[in-house]
Assembly symmetry: C2
Homo-oligomer: 105 residues x 2
């Protein structure tokens, strides 16, 4: 269950929003927290830690700031699983096509 931590880390609305937020441009923790209303800064900080521990974001320190950005490599195993799931769809289509083929050879 290698990619399970990845899924769990993504399975929370605030954390998923953070991931999308730091997808292209890196952002300091405070700025990330500022984007949410109804969620306190410490809560965001905890979410950032979970994302970091799961290897989905990197943290870089610049002075007193901590700057986060997406770490795409962290998603690789999950991506592979989904591709595997997707393949099962293609396999079925292929099997269905071959079945049709047999009927008028």
């Amino acid at each position: 269950m290698i990619m399970f931590e990845t899924i769990q880390a993504m399975a929370e609305p605030t954390r998923l929003a953070i991931l999308k937020m730091v997808r292209r441009r890196e952002m300091p923790a405070g700025q990330i927290a500022g984007k949410f209303k109804g969620i306190t800064r410490p809560a965001v900080s905890q979410h950032l830690r979970i994302l970091k521990d799961a290897g989905l974001v990197t943290e870089r320190r610049e002075g007193t700031r901590r700057i986060y950005r997406l770490r795409p490599e962290g998603f690789a195993p999950l991506k592979a699983l989904l591709e595997d799931f997707w393949d099962s769809k293609l396999e079925r289509l292929k099997a269905a096509a071959e079945k049709l083929e047999k009927r008028k050879p």
Copy 2:
């Protein structure tokens, strides 16, 4: 947040195991439940419902049996998100390459 239900449905070890289990071959509920020890049949039944509601498996009835199998289409939005995340890695590599290029034109 269209694919969020997908992520949540996957974010539980038993459910993830079920998804892998019905990836290629369809299976009746009882047989699925039988594969787990330490998890009761009703619990598995509840997990199946969550997976079905999320559109990740289909249910087919055959006599008194309910047969489940993977529904790959259900993963499409999440798959797209991960591909989008992955792109951000490629974009960075491209940007880095272009930077190098400029140094000896």
